[in-house]
Symmetry: C2
Subunit: 288 residues, 2 copies
Amino acid sequence: MDLQRIKYFLALSEQLHYWKTAEKVNITQSALSRQIQSLENELGLQLFERNKRNVKLTPAGKFLKEKWEVELNELEYIHQFAKQIHLGERGTITIAHPDSISASIMPDILAKITQAFPQLQIKLVQVLYENQLDFLKNYKIDLAITRDITSEQGIKSKKIYSDHLALVVPLDHAFKSFEDLSKESLSAQKFILPTKDEGSSYSEIIQALFKSYDLVPDVFLHSEFGSTIIALVRKGLGIAILPDSYMHHQSPGLRFIPLPFKTDILINWRADDHNPVLSNILSLVFDC
Amino acid sequence: MDLQRIKYFLALSEQLHYWKTAEKVNITQSALSRQIQSLENELGLQLFERNKRNVKLTPAGKFLKEKWEVELNELEYIHQFAKQIHLGERGTITIAHPDSISASIMPDILAKITQAFPQLQIKLVQVLYENQLDFLKNYKIDLAITRDITSEQGIKSKKIYSDHLALVVPLDHAFKSFEDLSKESLSAQKFILPTKDEGSSYSEIIQALFKSYDLVPDVFLHSEFGSTIIALVRKGLGIAILPDSYMHHQSPGLRFIPLPFKTDILINWRADDHNPVLSNILSLVFDC
DNA sequence: TCCATTAATGCAAAATACGCATTAATAAAT
DNA sequence: ATTTATTAATGCGTATTTTGCATTAATGGA
């Protein structure tokens, strides 16, 4: 059954006149007549009660006119919706990102996306660094924003930003600026540091930092959760090293002392992911 | 857009394999390939992500698979429903009938209809005799069961039953049987009779009845409503003449004395009404 | 009774769909 | 790295379907 036939039927059911309808839908009266006939044959019922003079809907025709009008509108809407999905204007994308950028570049990125594609549904999740690649490969997330470089097969990666590390101390702490740091002053401190993962490039940078002072830090606690670390530092339980993106969080009572070490932020996605939503978001993000 | 194409798409979206799908839907792989291609062109989007080795739904394809499955089911149901309307198995018919047969032949007729066509919706209405033809012509009712013969253009009519007139008296009334009736005994009575309509064949029969006794009845009240008349007779306000169908109503305290006058029950419908529901009901009723 | 209107239909042309055979790409096996 | 098996796409001739033109036949109104 051709939807075009149903459209012809609907046109005729309005006009109830073959010639006028045929003209309106740009076919000949002969073609229209046969289209209606084959529609009737296909359905095994009569749509119009007609003689050579009058055309009138049968009860079944009346019923189908009402129902088909609804269904055709429905289908048209569905097709439009599908087209938007095809263009990447509709759909869902799940993004994992570190807490550190929640208040810095994430708002920028999200604002850009929602402005360009207001119909997109974005799911933000926080995933432990060690799980990110698995989640990406298993379609639990579509985009992973991370500080770790990956050379995984099938995962594409691109740097989108970089920020400095900063030493985070309470306001009343002796450290006021970078010049106050030395092997001696640092060795007296208790540190709160991120979890030391195998092969995590972010951990390696922090290790490199301490190595530059030829120091093994006294680590009081490991945590991956920036907000936890900040709270502990504010209570004077130790000092921490965090990306200076955290300065964008409202954190009174703390001093951020920038350090000459940079940490990159990368965006990762599946190489074989052809979801048009992803392509749209990638090209938006790369324009930053 | 051909619904067949959508069916092909749905089959392929299940199998995700052209050859197997083509075999399943009884066309060649070549034809299937081209059907999917033209569907994609028609919609202006890609349904499958495919190379020479793998077939996989795109996000838009996934969306359409879900939606189209629902829509196609819906359409199939609609078409079945329409077919039932065409066969007169579904639909609505409005029937007017006199109160007199509510408890006699109407239950028989209705039982027969609902047994043969359980999906039919029947509306029963009571219409004043004088309005019946108008209601029929103006599509307010589809079938009029009446005691009046009509020779109206465009209205078909057929007798389906006939019953006798009966004199209705209270149990304690002097009249016990037909032999008690005479010009003298009748002229002493007060009568409750139906409204005397112009050209109503039922009124004429009652007039003929009195004429056979060479009598002009003392009419105390006119009413078309049988139940009203019966209540009044039971209270001793007068005696009445009604079709003996009323004996099927539960009417304690009354005696029905059959009279040798018959009144026909006719069924009327529009000659140009081709509603299949009507045809079905007519052929059922005529089999009585 | 005749005329104007109008849906159906015969027929040939155009468009579309189909099947067969082949091609080209790719994953798996060696 | 090379070969092989698998499989979606495609060229081409054929079959089917649809279309438009011209005509027919039925019908309501004058």
